[in-house]
Amino acid sequence: MDNDKVIQVEGLTKMFGDFTAVDAITFDVKKGEIFGFLGANGAGKTTAMKMLIGISIPTAGTANVAGFDVFKQAEDIKKNIGYMSQKFALYDDLTVKENITFFGGIYGLSRNVIKEKSDVLITELGLQKVANQLVASLPLGWKQKLSFSVALIHDPKIVFLDEPTGGVDPITRRQFWEMIYKAANEGTTVFVTTHYMDEAEYCDRVSIMVNGKIEALDTPKKLKKQFNAATMNDVFLKLARG
């Protein structure tokens, strides 16, 4: 296995009855890369991602994530990845600190490490004032940043982000991408789905899914050239319209 590639996918397929949600996709992601996973609603992005994070069993194909096989070693994969779903999935009825402690505990971190991490994390996010408030009372943008930090609490090799910036304001989106860059600089591989094409420009490489298939995969620069388009938005429109 190539040490440089943290995700290797070949012919990965998921079928629900007769419907093929993900149709034999093949790609790989390099260590420390920010990999943009694009596609229209219903193109199969989330389904594909769920197979990679070990909560959905593929119908066919092979996939290796962080050195482990998705069929046989799903639980080992889970130790090495972080995940942030498109739906806010921290506990609204716990405080910021309690959420961090809970997820840290579940990932098996010691009390001391959790304490240290949560102090750093809360300071970095500027949440000192609300650290002991229930998460429910926070604005969406803050919640999303907190989710991202919690997904990174156990220093995973790869972090999967499913539409992390859906519904947040441009300033928060900016800050969010700064956090993504910071994580990538520290060696974490980032696998991110998004609908915002300006965000696609920030990615090292981008794949575009249409009807369950990956129709394009390259750096944003090369993709624009390939499709003779000025922006990623135009690339996307050309592909998605067929």
Partner: protein, 373 residues
């Protein structure tokens, strides 16, 4: 192990932070215990009693007087006709009508045998049965009284041998229905609260999306489930304690047997219920679905537990079904230990069956719970 502690800590925080849930867990059961224990009685009192006296003699009046003297009957009126009595029963104004025939006194003295007509409103069959027994008893007593009177008249006759049964009620000598009902209702409360809470809890995490977040972590299924269910086990035991205290303080229900034995049995019993709750939550996607399924089982469990209707009088197939009803075992154990003072050996069969049930249900639930779809 440490992971489980984190989950338990989180669950307790969430339970005690939920201001809407706390009263449901602790206040409603107390109210239910107090209300139901007083209301759920098999005694039939204040029976509306009417009669048609076609005889108008001292003998017929003496019979009516017997009913008047009873605590159970409210003697209303002398109806002028059967038609009037039927009409009143139709309206629900009268429960029982006694029809005393003409020449009642004369025939009784002459033939020493007479038929009395009794009409009972049997819309509520159980109550009608009880009323019938009461009436028969009163008439019998009146009969004896009459025999003595008649014997005085003709003392040459051979005295009839009267065989009488003298009931002795063991374990609940005064036939106090509260003594009988309180332990049973306590069982219901512990069962319902733990079943609903556990059934709903994991489904709730499915609904709000946090379960997916948990499934992406390397947590083990057993860790998650133990951590999730332990708080409800504690709540169940807490409810038992509150219930037993109330039973003692408010209802003076005796505690003949060993409290430790009762706690031992309950600790295993709650595991069964939690397993069922967990099993339900595996098959449902919303709290609403879980609620309906939990209700479905609760109703069957309660009505087939022997709490309200004796299991012995159920049809054979139903009796077999009750073998699978955990509530039945708990009701029996509760009454055996509290009222009879049964010991460990006496309840051992119940204990073993419940233990087996706990293993099967929780095994199924853990097996069915999938982190991956």
């Amino acid at each position: 192990m440490k992971t489980i502690l984190y989950i338990i800590q989180k669950e307790f925080k969430q339970i005690f932070r939920n201001k809407g849930m706390l009263p449901i867990i602790f206040v409603l059961p107390v109210l239910q215990l107090i209300i139901l224990s007083n209301a759920a009685t098999f005694e039939v009192k204040n029976i509306k009693f009417g009669y048609i006296d076609n005889d108008h003699t001292s003998t017929s009046r003496a019979l009516v007087e017997k009913f008047n003297a009873s605590d159970y009957f409210n003697v209303l009126t002398d109806f002028p006709s059967e038609a009037k009595a039927s009409a009143e029963m139709l309206l629900g104004n009268v429960d029982v009508v006694l029809d005393i025939p003409q020449y009642f006194e004369r025939d009784l003295q002459k033939e020493k045998y007479i038929n009395l007509g009794v009409t009972i409103n049997a819309i509520d069959g159980a109550a009608a049965g009880v009323e019938n027994v009461y009436i028969t008893q009163i008439v019998k007593r009146y009969n004896q009284h009459l025999k003595i009177d008649l014997l005085q008249v003709s003392d040459n006759q051979i005295q009839p041998v009267n065989i009488e049964t003298i009931p002795l009620f063991w374990y609940n000598e005064t036939l106090n229905y509260k003594t009988f009902m309180v332990p049973g209702i306590l069982v219901l409360l512990v069962t319902m609260i733990t079943l609903f809470l556990s059934g709903m809890n994991i489904v709730r995490e499915k609904e709000i999306g946090t379960l997916e977040q948990i499934n992406v972590t390397p947590i083990k299924k057993s860790q998650f489930i133990i951590g999730k269910l332990f708080p409800f086990w504690v709540i169940g035991m807490g409810l038992l304690t509150i219930g037993l205290l109330l039973a003692k303080i408010i209802f003076q229900v005796p505690m003949v047997g060993s409290l430790a034995l009762l706690y031992l049995y309950t600790s295993i019993y709650i595991l069964v219920i939690l397993g069922i709750g967990l099993f339900i939550s595996n098959f449902t996607d919303t709290q609403q679905q879980a609620m309906f399924i939990a209700w479905f089982f609760t109703v069957i469990f309660i009505l087939m537990s022997g709490l309200f209707t004796p299991i012995e009088s159920m049809p054979k197939w139903a009796q077999i079904v009750t073998e699978f009803n955990p509530v039945k075992y708990f009701v029996e154990v509760m009454r055996m230990v509290m009222l009879k003072g049964s010991g460990f050996i006496d309840i051992l069969p119940h204990l073993l069956k419940t233990l087996l049930y706990a293993f099967v249900m929780n095994g199924l639930a853990v097996w069915r719970y999938k982190k991956t779809t």
